[in-house]
Symmetry: C2
Subunit: 218 residues, 2 copies
């Protein structure tokens, strides 16, 4: 995983940084992001608290790095899912797989904003990358590939504001489909991960599949 370049000391540094982040994730998984404590992470690594300041400027920088990594991991998951060819269903599965693999990672990115903290600027580029894969898949659909005038009002709005699409040449119909994809899958996912379907006695798997299918039936 980690690059094997640089001096021994550099490699050691990189390795310890990764270990710190791994422990931090474990701690977040247990008690949520707001409970992340530098001292506790250090103790788990057999170090004292101040030692971590050799690797991160402070708690905020650590969290920032974790958020960026979380975004990055979703982008990678999408890239892997898109590798065989453009396929919305593969992306839908990848999104859910990514979310279920570590719910707290999902929440760190898409859940309740951490108060007083805002995502680092790099995440914008990664978000564009993520949506890029989705737009690829949608554009490849015959139903969305036409560049003609979109029948729905939403597409008109989207034709004006396409910053989120980067410089992707997707036609308005594909933009609309991609966005619907995004909001609807997150709708099921966020309720599922927050445990609301368990309380309702429903099977999230079926609901997610149903939404995916419905999206493509258009």
């Amino acid at each position: 995983m980690a690059e094997q370049t640089g001096t021994p000391r550099q490699r050691y540094r990189a390795q310890v940084r990764e270990e710190i982040k791994a422990r931090a994730w474990a701690q977040i998984a247990e008690a949520g992001a707001s409970a992340l404590s530098l001292n506790a992470v250090a103790k788990q690594l057999g170090m004292t608290g101040p030692a971590l300041y050799r690797y991160f400027a402070g708690r905020d920088e650590l969290i920032t790095e974790l958020v960026t990594d979380a975004y990055r991991s979703l982008a990678d998951a999408f890239a892997a899912a898109a590798a065989p060819g453009p396929d919305p269903v593969a992306l839908a599965r990848a999104l859910r797989g990514w979310a279920l693999a570590d719910p707290h990672r999902y929440f760190l990115v898409y859940g309740t904003p951490v108060p007083g903290y805002q995502a680092p600027p790099e995440t914008t580029a990664i978000a564009v990358e993520i949506m890029g894969h989705l737009l690829d898949a949608c554009t490849a659909r015959p139903a969305d590939s036409q560049g003609g005038a979109p029948a729905e009002p939403l597409a008109a709005h989207l034709a004006e504001r396409r910053d989120w699409a980067g410089d992707h040449p997707a036609p308005p119909a594909a933009l609309a489909t991609a966005l619907r994809f995004w909001t609807r899958l997150h709708g099921v996912l966020s309720l599922e991960l927050a445990g609301h379907f368990t309380g309702m006695g429903l099977d999230p798997d079926r609901l997610y599949d149903a939404e995916t299918t419905a999206l493509l039936a258009r």
Copy 2:
């Protein structure tokens, strides 16, 4: 608002309880639920920390009460929206109005679960009440009122598991529509409130309206 019954002391107690909760909400709105501090709330009320223990057994009980109140307020908002008659659009507007009026209240109910804490049992009944209004509105739609065999696979699943609907006599088609309503609107809302559309340069209002319209076009 508060009942004017009971002895003066009881009325005073109820009043102070309400004040404590109001301050707690303000604090949650500022820094999130995990930052809620009894001492800080007490200080804002011109009291010392231990005084709050006359009113709540501890921090957990206070949060539990806030969660219950949050659920209750949504149920009330739905009841008010449904008063003129069954109308899905009115409920959709009520949901968004409720969420935007106090995003942290939304997050307390539908956002990242507070670690180590789980919603009190009363909330289940309120959730059924909330879905009841939604089911009323959907059942009233001609498209969903038929009791015939549902065309979609989702409706089959829903016909089996209808605990979340309480004893509501909604036909499977209405169950499916209500659930779609619920997940799709939360999809837009949760992304909106977490600030993801701002980052994308999109107008959440338009997206929400589009989803509402699409849901009824069926």
